[in-house]
């Protein structure tokens, strides 16, 4: 049975270190996720696609945040794992659509789903995954009653709205070539696009489940926000490295003219001549942006301190997250799960 399998996994590998906890919770989530994704008879052109992205691995950060919060707030494991499975299924469905919207060619080192199967089937698979996520979520909520379910629906609707707004911001900036952006704009986008779905919502779900609706889900918003912004900046910084990780293309964000903190900074810091060239680069279609221009932009970011500035801001945001952790989780009794949540802050920079 899935529950027994989950218990076995956790008994075999109790949480100790960040990586171990994430692996343990990730494995437990995967067991439940597979059970739900394979619950139906295999449908042609669909079920193979649904199983693709989850099979490619991943950090399992979101499920781990959910489970750790649930347990830290006194909840059981079974409903938390089901909830984590819902998060992961929904996340993978969104990834499919994100890849289409971004025109991405690679996902976790392999061709994206729409590159493999075409955009229509990929969109359909993404739709199916997002609706499939409802089943484990409902199963997790059923024993807890209508009040808890209403809370979960509330925070989930907020997450959906914030995430859509964040994605719209990023796409709108890119498609309309918006260049007059500030760091506050970037933080706003990171809050909505990254933090809400990636950190705030999983933490809130775990909190509500674990406390059976008695704890306030708003109490973890700031922690999740600063954690998410720090995570996003670090992610953007890694994209400029030789090995961005997970099969991402080096400097892929520069080719895509992604509005990162470094890009916003360098456009403010550069000379008028450089800004003119930069604006011309940003106005080009992606296919017309040359590797030489990308290298020029990367060098300018280095020279004008944009990368160092972003590193400093990421570190500061992580510090703010640690501060908010004290406020949100300080009243909880010490536990391995509470330590795991606290350890997410340095993990942002130490993650593989």
């Amino acid at each position: 049975m899935a529950a027994a399998a989950v218990a076995d996994v956790l008994d075999a590998a109790p949480p100790g270190a960040m990586a171990d906890t994430m692996a343990t919770y990730g494995k437990a989530t995967k067991v439940e996720l597979d059970r739900y994704l394979r619950a139906q008879p295999a449908a042609p052109y669909l079920d193979e696609l649904l199983a693709d992205y989850p099979s490619r691995g991943g950090k399992m950060l979101r499920p781990s945040i959910c489970i750790a919060n649930a347990r830290a707030f006194g909840g059981g494991l079974e409903s938390a794992v089901r909830c984590a499975a819902a998060i992961e299924i929904l996340h993978n469905g969104l990834l499919i659509h994100d890849d289409i919207q971004d025109g991405s060619e690679l996902r976790r080192g392999r061709p994206t789903l729409h590159a493999l199967h075409g955009t229509p089937l990929a969109i359909n698979a993404g739709d199916a995954m997002m609706f499939t996520a409802l089943r484990p979520l409902i199963d997790a909520l059923r024993p807890l009653g209508g009040d808890v379910a209403a809370q979960v629906l509330d925070i989930s609707m907020t997450m959906a709205r914030e995430t859509a707004e964040g994605q719209a911001l990023e796409l709108g900036w890119r498609d309309l070539n918006i260049t007059e952006l500030t760091e506050a704009d970037y933080f706003r986008m990171a809050l909505k696009k990254t933090a809400w779905m990636g950190m705030i919502w999983p933490a809130q779900l775990g909190l509500v489940l674990g406390s059976a609706g008695r704890a306030d889900p708003q109490s973890v918003v700031r922690f999740g926000y600063f954690l998410g912004v720090a995570f996003q900046i670090e992610d953007d910084l890694r994209n400029l490295s030789v090995d961005p990780g997970y099969g991402k293309e080096m400097n892929g964000d520069l080719f895509e003219a992604k509005r990162t903190l470094m890009l916003i900074h360098v456009r403010q810091a550069c000379s008028d001549t450089e800004r003119s060239r930069l604006d011309g680069f940003l106005a080009q279609p992606r296919s017309d942006r040359s590797p030489d221009d990308v290298l020029w932009l990367a060098g300018m970011m280095q020279r004008l301190g944009s990368i160092d500035h972003a590193r400093g801001v990421a570190a500061a945001m992580a510090g703010a997250a640690a501060h908010e952790f004290d406020l949100a989780y300080g009243g909880l009794p010490p536990s391995a799960d509470r330590s795991f949540i606290a350890g997410l802050v340095p993990w942002i920079f130490a993650r593989p």
């Binding site: 509330d154 706003r188 400093g312 801001v313």
Partner: protein
Amino acid sequence: MTIRKGKAGDGGRVRRPMAGAGRGPNRASAAAAASPAKTTAAAAKAKTSNDPKVSDAVAHAVKMGYDVITENIRQGREAAEKFRQGEYRLRDAPGDLEVASLRLLRLARELSTTTFDVCERLLKELGEQRPPQDRTAEVPKFRDTIPFATLQPSQSASAAPQGPPSLKVTVRFEGAPKALAHTEALIRPRLPTAASGITAAPLAPSGGQGAPITGVRFEMDASVDGIVAIVSVPKGQAPGVYSGIVHAQVDPLPLGLLTIELL
């Protein structure tokens, strides 16, 4: 050093990042955010993380970060207040309404559970019962009448009533010491009709031999059910069976056949 972050979102409280203390390598940077630096595009130029002025830029970024989340929370609260007037979210409803709604939901859930329990028990009991036997034979006779005047006396009156409603008729004889009536009922006229409005054709002898009996009239008699047919038999009328069609004046359809037998 403090960071003032609060507006409507958190009650305006002041939070103090603990500079240089705590878990993680970034507390010092967060503490740097306490300085409300005036970061501008010019100030951002050519700064490195080792430059003390960079701390101002980073601190300003953190301050902006707090401003962003505070503004987001404030907008969320405003949206909640706005939609409180409508049906946006259950939790945005006024407290008493929320409590009432939650109670209603709980009640509905409990009622549903109870209903399902009752239905389940009912279905179970129904499943244990056997189908009922055919009890139509036990049903008493519906009406002890002859539906049609044309029915023979031997036909069962216990048969289910069919056709138009009947009108019981009692035949009385004048002038004939020995006679029998073979008609007990006629069809009831479709419109209200007085007994005097019912007539009978001369009762012709069976086989056509002999004179018909013309003296037939209908009367009401409170002592009997239905109407009374009075047949005047002339002296010297030959024995035999006589019959004639009965009509109502307001209804062209015949009400049946009046049949008598003179012995």
